[in-house]
């Protein structure tokens, strides 16, 4: 493995079970590198959301080790988790917007949590809402917005703070094809221009073809496979997305 390429995430023989049920994810071992663009695919119930939950630090593994941004998640103190979470941008499957905050305040939340200057917050959020086509809905609250509008607010909130890694769970599920492509381009732009590592979970096979340099991780019955070599290193001969690479040990 190249020593010059710092890993963003490293899973080592990770398993996950809920309670005493059988493992929903087994023996996951892979590494994500800066600037990579991943699609995580698999049928419903394959474990995509469970894997993403571990990636965005909402779920601890039942076994194995996870390193993120150079930190061992098993041994690091809980008090340092918020610091790691602020380096992530997450688009949740059900959006998870704060229902009594306006679209503007929902998008502004990550910047305000990080203590950004309010003038910058106002400008950045206005620009972002304009970009996702919701400037006219800035003062609407989520319950009055359509599913597609809520999804765009969720995406705007996930990318507003320029995260080191963007994790999106079915981010285009509720929008029309044009908007889906536009949002995907936003992810690509983040990936190319800022070097953000992007992980998009989807079961839309058409979406995979829209990002030609992307790598695909496929989950089947809790196990990972790598049809594009995403789990090997180097992932593709000469492959480089946004100046980075991706790969790791197979599952």
């Amino acid at each position: 493995m190249s020593e010059t390429l710092a890993e963003i995430v490293k899973f080592d023989n990770v398993g996950l079970r809920y309670g005493t049920d059988p493992e929903v994810l087994s023996n996951l071992s892979f590494t994500l590198y800066p600037g990579s663009f991943y699609f995580l695919t698999g049928a419903s119930g394959a474990g995509k959301t469970s894997l993403l939950k571990m990636l965005y630090l909402a779920q601890a593994p039942s076994r194995g080790a996870i390193r993120m941004f150079g930190q061992d998640l098993v041994t690091m103190p809980r008090s340092r988790l918020p610091e790691l979470r602020r380096r992530l941008g997450v688009v949740f499957q059900n959006f998870r917007l704060v229902p009594y905050l306006t679209a503007f305040d929902n998008v502004a939340l990550p910047l305000r949590l990080a203590g950004a200057d309010e003038k910058k917050v106002q400008r950045a959020v206005s620009d972002m809402l304009d970009w996702v086509g919701l400037a006219h809905r800035a003062h609407a609250v989520p319950p009055t917005m359509s599913g597609g509008e809520q999804q765009r607010v969720a995406i705007a909130r996930a990318v507003i703070a320029r995260p080191k890694m963007l994790i999106a769970d079915e981010p285009t599920g509720n929008v029309d094809p044009d908007m889906a492509l536009k949002l995907l381009r936003l992810f690509e732009a983040l990936n190319n221009r800022v070097g953000t590592t992007v992980v998009v979970a989807t079961h839309d096979v058409h979406l995979l073809k829209k990002v030609p340099d992307s790598l695909i991780m496929r989950l089947h019955k809790g196990q990972l496979s790598d049809p594009t070599g995403a789990l090997r290193y180097p992932p593709r001969p000469g492959g480089s997305i946004g100046g980075g690479g991706a790969g790791g040990g197979g599952a």
Partner: protein
């Protein structure tokens, strides 16, 4: 379409990382909730009870102190002799003996008319007729307190010259009353502690319910990188508002009740009851009750929220 809008990180890359909002700044991350639900009312009732119990306890303490202070250095000497002439002779002898004892500051023979007036409600006309022999009574005031050694010293001095003299510390007559007042003070203190526990329990339940109701919001903030202190600040702000509103109302209700009770007791015109009035220091103690209630609510809520956050990764 592929151009990103300028964002703070890109516009000013050399900016030093800003300081994350804490305390009041963190509390402003989410808008305040409206004052709804029973908690402010529950806190108001509990604070009112604590105010009344505290005022009652302090009044009882003042009453006991006033009663003890007046009688602690007083001694009664009874010259028990049925023969009026001999009784008069022995009384005069007792006064001479008592006056000569070091530490005795005043000696007064209670006039017979005064004694008769005191006994008349019990003895009726018999008290005036002379059919019932009434002991002579001498009030003695000591420079210090009338403890058992002083009583023993006076008894020894009188024993040779005034046979049949009986010496009593006046404070002894009030001992059962003082014991009862002390028990009532402990009762008031126990009541204050019990109500404080009930307040803590009410706030604990309220904070848990509020936290459960807002769990989705808490999880969102948590996953967006909010620290436990930032999340707690949001909830503590709401608990503070509810507790402060309840404490203010409760203090008002409690003080009104204390004032009314004070008026009722003052109307009795009893010398003993008037000793139970509240002093400035007592009012200051009572004023700390709502403040302590708010503090208790905040500490309880902080612990509740910390425990709830522990359940999250």
């Amino acid at each position: 379409m592929s151009t990103l809008p300028p964002l703070p990180a890109e516009a000013e890359p050399d900016d030093t990382p800003p300081e994350r909002p804490q305390g009041r700044a963190a509390a402003r991350l989410l808008p305040p909730t409206r004052l709804t639900g029973p908690i402010p009312w529950v806190i108001a009732i509990l604070i009112a009870l604590v105010v009344i119990a505290t005022a009652g306890g302090l009044a009882l303490r003042n009453l006991a102190t006033a009663a003890s202070t007046g009688l602690s250095s007083a001694v009664s000497v009874q010259v028990i002799e049925p023969n009026p002439d001999l009784r008069g002779f022995r009384s005069a002898e007792a006064v001479r003996t008592l006056t000569a004892i070091p530490g005795v500051s005043a000696v007064r023979v209670v006039p017979e008319a005064e004694l008769v007036a005191m006994l008349e409600p019990w003895l009726g006309e018999g008290a005036r007729s002379g059919d019932v022999p009434i002991p002579a009574l001498i009030d003695v005031e000591l420079a210090g307190s009338a403890g058992p050694p002083e009583i023993a010293r006076i008894e020894a001095a009188l024993a040779a010259k005034v046979p049949g003299a009986r010496v009593d510390a006046q404070g002894d007559f009030l001992r059962p009353v003082n014991d009862a007042l002390a028990a009532l003070q402990w009762l008031a203190l126990g009541l204050v502690l019990l109500v404080a526990l009930a307040t803590a329990a009410a706030v604990w339940l309220a904070a848990r319910n509020a936290f459960a109701a807002a769990r989705e919001t808490v999880e969102i903030m948590h996953l967006l990188g909010a620290s436990g202190r930032q999340i707690a600040a949001v909830f503590l702000r709401d608990v503070l508002r509810e507790a402060a509103a309840g404490a203010l109302l409760g203090a008002g209700l409690g003080l009104a009740a204390v004032w009314l009770l004070g008026q009722q007791f003052a109307a009795l015109g009893s010398g003993m009851v008037s000793g139970g009035g509240l002093m400035l220091a007592d009012w200051l103690v009572i004023a700390t009750v709502p403040l302590a209630g708010v503090l208790l609510a905040l500490v309880t809520a902080r612990i509740t929220i910390a425990l709830a956050l522990k359940d999250m990764l």
